[in-house]
């Protein structure tokens, strides 16, 4: 039986100057790299495959299998690209990881690049987190000086160059093929697949793209073995993950636990819903995952459990809202976000998100009729699954799920001629009132 919380990635976050090479090496950092470089690259891939690690960026695709898709007989160079464009509303795990322990990621990058036989790697980090960019730049510089990067790493004959690349503000660049276009110096717009990036990715060459947390999990797997990793979590969702609690809980923050923990357990660890209030709705993995309610408190937070409950595990971005929150306001704000972030390539998404905002905004003001709910659902039906990437699918999630669970609340906006909620009551400074 594993413990309730299992800090691995977060274990060193509180240490003095944890972002430095000296601190990281003092807790065993870069020993996994030494071990990996003594193995055959294919054996490293096998180790990650056997661990059962699934992508931590939301989709949950098996990481080792993704690496195995890289055609080693392809004459083009291979590339590893880390998706550090953390932008999904509610998601806030990769940013603190890179701020507190950038070397965990850098070591993971080197091992992973070695496994897929890449000599060039990139960390594509969103531009709006300046101090994270600084800590990554410094970590890469330190790693070069220590011989963990560059030519003939640890005397192994293996070479790797790593560039930290700052984005410029576009949610869509978290989508892997849009990220590649952006990294090639273009507008960040998704590509049609196939071909998949493993075959034709960056510069039309074989490319692996993984989330920060996936890559950062690799050193611990190499150091401790696949069986150790797989001893945590559930049957098909192995290992640990960072669960990010935000919103109306007593102690929001990062909780690293085996996959399969429940929201009831996590809220308990977080000191409960804020005093005097109760849970109303929550997202299991960011705004693109359909919202759930108090009836789902005991759903195991693994890929299968959340899927069976009609949503997705996503990025374990648990946004918690209590009964003071208007669900229509929440859905409208998320919809405005998707409209703003739609890259414009596919018509159902570009036009559809615009129309969703029109209808929702009117409903929120108490205008329109009950038939508009069916209109909204019909629009969602015409958007879902009809674009190159999953942004549009994510855009309809808040609407369809909120109508499913809170249809009466939409109607209350119509009968009361506007929003029946006081937005001040949901703020963190609600009790301070006008003095806040």
């Amino acid at each position: 039986m594993t413990d309730v919380l299992t800090p691995v990635l977060t274990a060193n976050w509180g240490f003095d100057r944890s972002w430095t090479l000296a601190s990281y090496e003092s807790v065993g950092g870069y020993r996994a790299l030494t071990k990996a470089l003594e193995m055959d690259p294919a054996a490293v891939i096998e180790e990650v495959k056997d661990s059962g690690l699934r992508g931590r960026g939301g989709a949950g695709f098996p990481t080792g299998m993704k690496w195995g898709f890289i055609p080693q007989d392809n004459p083009n160079p291979k590339y590893l690209v880390v998706n550090a464009d953390e932008s999904e509303p509610g998601t806030c795990k990769d940013v603190p990881l890179m701020m507190a322990s950038p070397h965990t990621l850098v070591e993971g990058v080197i091992i992973s690049s070695y496994a897929i036989r890449a000599n060039r790697a990139f960390i594509y980090v969103r531009g709006e987190v300046l101090h994270v960019v600084r800590r990554l730049q410094r970590a890469v510089q330190e790693a070069y000086l220590a011989g963990h990067l560059g030519k003939n790493i640890h005397g192994s004959g293996y070479d790797l160059d790593l560039v930290v690349h700052a984005g410029a503000g576009a949610y869509i660049c978290g989508e892997e093929t849009a990220l590649l276009d952006s990294l090639e110096g273009r507008r960040g717009q998704p590509r049609l697949r196939p071909p998949f990036p493993a075959v034709a990715g960056l510069y039309a060459s074989p490319t692996v793209i993984n989330n920060v947390e996936s890559i950062a999990s690799v050193p611990s797997i190499l150091a401790n073995g696949h069986a150790w990793f797989a001893s945590m979590g559930t049957e098909k969702s192995k290992g640990f993950g960072i669960f990010s609690l935000s919103g109306h809980v007593t102690r929001p923050g990062q909780y690293e636990a085996p996959l399969g923990i429940t929201l009831r357990e996590l809220i308990d660890l977080a000191g409960g819903i804020r005093e005097g209030h109760e849970l109303k709705f929550w997202t299991p993995g960011g705004s693109s995952t359909p919202m759930l309610t108090a009836e789902h408190l005991d759903v195991p937070l693994d890929f299968e459990g959340v899927g069976a409950a009609g949503s997705m595990l996503g990025t374990r971005a648990l946004q918690i809202f209590d009964e003071t929150t208007c669900v229509v306001r929440a859905a409208l704000r998320w919809t405005e976000f998707y409209k703003h972030e739609s890259c414009g390539k596919c018509t159902p998404c570009r036009e559809g998100t615009w129309w969703l905002v029109q209808v929702l905004a009117a409903l929120e003001k108490g205008q329109g009729s009950e038939a508009d709910l069916d209109l909204l659902l019909d629009q969602c039906d015409n958007i879902m699954g009809r674009s190159f990437c999953a942004l549009a699918d994510g855009a309809v999630s808040p609407i369809t799920s909120s109508i499913k669970y809170f249809r009466e609340e939409y109607l209350a906006h119509l009968t009361s001629g506007g929003c029946p909620f006081d937005p001040a009551a949901s703020t963190v400074f609600a009790t301070a009132g006008a003095n806040a």
Binding site: T6, G14, W19, T91, Y255, A317, H340, T427, A436
Partner: protein, 282 residues
């Protein structure tokens, strides 16, 4: 105004970091903003010429990303997250208060009164700090757990020249200096600020208090790669509170003795993987 030869040389330096030069375009545009204060027609031409693409292609990229600005930006770019969670937690109220206080609207800049400390106000989408809601950013540094009062104080401090420090980061630099770092030219502030803010550490501190760890491994007697001694961890920790708690933990362990795995543990420290099983006592 013409761009300096230094800027031209640095643009070329960025392009040379990549296997294909065009990959440098995003950082190059950050450098244009640092040098010129915004994306200028001249900056676009310079990038196009260096990369051998048309100015229209560069413009197409520059207009796609929200961090690139066609209008001059103030010395301090002040962002307020108004995506759903932050909005609900107070971001909407903060943004309204700041618009009133600064007498400007979204994406507008305060007039320059000669002090050289202007502010551009903008509402932001999710900035990946939801556990610190409501969140603001100043020149893309985190300002956590804000209120309307602390937000107005913040902008007043910025305008009056008081040195402002990110709640979990360094001293705030100017917007143009920030853009230079994003272009890949580091400043010397990486070592400023803490490892992590308080919310980032709630789980790891709870684990320490409850003696929860990842499972032991055979290879190293149970320490695991990220494990370290509790005392060592606490002495390095940012807060004295964690230190006293962990030391209390350690003494509790000492009185209970240790497991057989400790045979190899010559320094006498308790490693997480060798903890006594305290769960049965609860």
């Amino acid at each position: 105004m013409t761009m300096s030869p230094t800027t031209h040389a640095e643009l070329a330096e960025i392009a040379a970091r990549y296997p294909q030069a065009r990959s440098g375009l995003l950082p190059m545009l950050h450098l244009v903003q640092s040098s010129e204060g915004r994306i200028t027609p001249e900056g676009i031409e310079a990038c196009a010429e260096l990369l051998g693409i048309s100015a229209a292609e560069v413009s197409g990229v520059a207009t796609f990303y929200t961090m690139y600005k066609r209008k001059p930006v103030g010395d301090y770019h002040v962002g307020v997250c108004t995506n759903t969670l932050c909005a609900v937690m107070g971001g909407d109220a903060i943004f309204e208060r700041l618009k009133d206080h600064l007498e400007i609207g979204n994406d507008e800049t305060t007039p320059d009164d000669g002090t050289g400390r202007t502010i551009t106000l903008e509402h932001l989408e999710c900035n990946a700090a939801c556990d610190y809601a409501p969140v603001m950013m100043v020149n893309w540094e985190f300002m956590d757990n804000m209120t309307p009062t602390s937000a107005t104080q913040l902008v007043d401090d910025l305008r009056s020249g008081v040195e402002v420090t990110s709640t979990r980061g360094p001293r705030i630099c100017t917007w143009r200096e920030a853009e230079r770092v994003l272009a890949g030219f580091p400043d010397d502030r990486a070592d400023e600020g803490p490892s992590a803010g308080p919310a980032s550490l709630v789980g790891v501190e709870l684990a320490r208090e409850n003696r929860w760890t990842a499972p032991p491994t055979e290879a190293d007697g149970g320490a695991g790669r990220t494990a370290t001694t509790k005392t060592g961890a606490a002495e390095q920790a940012d807060t004295s509170r964690a230190e006293s708690e962990a030391k209390a933990d350690e003494s509790a362990v000492d009185t209970k003795g240790s497991t057989g795995d400790d045979a190899n543990n010559t320094d006498g420290d308790t490693k997480p993987g060798t903890k006594p099983d305290t769960k049965g006592e609860k």
